[in-house]
């Protein structure tokens, strides 16, 4: 009896938390729409168009500028995937090959100190092909996040597990495949979640300066021709994409980390 009465409030609290989480985003979005609606009634359309206008423009963007939308998404996903692989590999190498660790680490930390704008400006000179430019920019910006988080993740692995695993005398490949890899999956997912928004912002920025096709290029054009509705339509699209991506990673996380007791608390 005492046990159930102790467990009940915790359960209820968790349910409340979950329902709060489920409704928080839609409620916030509705609130923002309301604010835009009110602002559009006060300000002229070139400063703040109404939500309906933005929605119409968004429809136009999706139907007539599909190539730009697709280009940005594909660039983003490819760059993210490559950064994930390269960054994770670098992290693993740093953790498993101790002589190179300090040098690689120093290099990566220096990289994180270089402002994104520097990379963008430099990439314009270094690469003619806009695809290469954007890929390069995203890579140098995203790889360090993965590399450093994975390194920290591996170092946080309990020494006990390593001792236990090594008592069976595995090969180095087995240590990686069956001990390190499963242990760093949560770190890879966590890093992906936390860089998504950042990566989206960066690609728009990079496209604004370094490409003729893509969301960033379109937004630059819209701004130059005073099409506030188009700027906002693109913005809405990108935010929606980030939300969907975030949600997808969370679903993946829940599936892949079902062994983790705290995974369901999220």
């Amino acid at each position: 009896m005492t046990v159930t009465s102790n467990a009940e409030p915790a359960r209820r609290r968790r349910l409340a938390l979950l329902s709060g989480e489920r409704w928080a985003t839609p409620i916030t979005v509705l609130g923002l729409v309301a604010v835009v609606q009110i602002a559009s009634m006060i300000a002229p359309p070139y400063i703040m168009p109404s939500p309906l206008t933005i929605l119409e423009t968004l429809y136009g963007v999706l139907t007539t500028e599909t190539l730009d939308v697709v280009a940005t998404l594909v660039r983003l996903l490819i760059a993210l995937a490559c950064s994930l692989v390269i960054g994770t590999l670098l992290g693993v190498i740093m953790a498993m090959v101790s002589p190179v660790r300090p040098y690689l680490r120093a290099l990566i930390v220096i990289d994180t100190g270089i402002p994104a704008v520097s990379w963008i400006l430099v990439a314009v000179f270094w690469f003619k092909n806009p695809e290469h430019r954007i890929f390069f920019i995203l890579l140098v910006i995203l790889v360090p996040f993965y590399a450093l988080n994975i390194l920290d993740g591996i170092r946080a692995m309990p020494k006990d597990w390593v001792e236990m695993y090594e008592s069976f005398r595995p090969s180095r490949w087995q240590v990686f495949r069956y001990l390190i890899y499963p242990h760093i999956v949560p770190y890879i997912l966590m890093t992906t979640k936390s860089v998504f928004g950042y990566a989206t912002r960066m690609i728009i920025f990079a496209e604004l300066i370094g490409a003729a096709v893509g969301a960033g290029a379109r937004m630059g054009m819209a701004q130059a021709t005073f099409h506030m509705d188009a700027v906002l339509a693109w913005t809405v699209l990108l935010v929606a994409f980030t939300l969907v991506a975030q949600y997808s990673v969370e679903l993946l996380e829940r599936r892949m980390l079902k062994w983790r007791p705290e995974a369901e608390l999220r």
Binding site: D160, S167, F168, R169, P182, V185, W259
Partner: protein
């Protein structure tokens, strides 16, 4: 039955953690099929000795040999030869109970169907068949300890190293688990170096008892035969006296 060639050989071994001397000039041998108990107060260096034998720790001085090889080197000769049950369970949280039991067999490249079958078999022998598909966080401490015991025994190692941790468990579970472990060790009849906090268990199970005092010095060595076992009270007294 016992041949003279030792399977575990520790010669003048010292081990330091920084400035702290944990093992000081320790020497002893274990012959094939011999069951040796290590007893001693907490902090005496029992787990450290086990770490030296399994090779997770290198001696600062002296030599450790298992079947003539240095266990701390990555030599493949000792693959599958040593089974260790640690003081804490060390189950990998992303693996279910049965998958944890299969860790060693996966490393030794036992075919999956054979491995699954043997793991299930050993889960049964440690009375954990119901835990088969549960993750470690869904198991109790005692259940986890049993699974980790199966993980050590399933590879059928020539040498068994057991560091008991049953003291964290409630008395009833702990006694039950100790009994099961004793039965298992006797039934597999392997070379076994085991750490226990229960002097009765050492007397009952071991062919020889080494009483360690810090820093892992042999304070007393007792060879047990059936005659000696007939008077466990006096053995116990002797051991307790040096453990003070």
């Amino acid at each position: 039955m016992l041949t003279d060639k030792p399977i575990i050989k520790i010669q003048n071994v010292s081990c330091k953690f920084g400035d702290f001397l944990a093992v000081d000039d320790l020497s002893f041998e274990v012959r094939p099929s011999e069951i040796v108990a290590l007893v001693g107060k907490t902090g005496a260096g029992k787990s450290t000795v086990l770490n030296l034998v399994m090779g997770s720790l290198r001696p600062t001085q002296g030599q450790v040999q298992v079947e003539g090889f240095d266990p701390a080197s990555s030599s493949p000769e000792l693959r599958g030869k040593i089974g260790v049950s640690f003081q804490n369970d060390r189950l990998l949280p992303w693996r279910t109970a049965i998958e944890n039991v299969e860790i060693g067999m996966q490393i030794l490249k036992v075919p999956p169907d054979k491995s699954a079958q043997q793991a299930a078999d050993w889960l049964g022998r440690v009375k954990m068949e119901t835990a088969r598909d549960k993750y470690p966080h869904e198991l109790s401490g005692g259940m986890r300890q049993r699974v980790s015991l199966a993980r050590a025994l399933v590879i059928d190692p020539a040498i068994l190293l057991l560091d008991e941790s049953f003291s964290q468990l409630d008395p009833v579970t702990s006694v039950e688990l100790r009994k099961d472990v004793a039965a298992l060790v006797r039934s597999v009849r392997k070379t076994c170096l085991f750490i226990t906090h229960r002097i009765e268990d050492a007397i009952e199970m071991a062919d020889r008892i080494l009483v360690l005092a810090p820093p892992a010095r042999i304070a007393l060595e007792l060879a047990l035969d059936d005659q000696a076992r007939r008077n466990p009270g006096s053995l116990r007294e002797q051991i307790e006296k040096v453990m003070q």
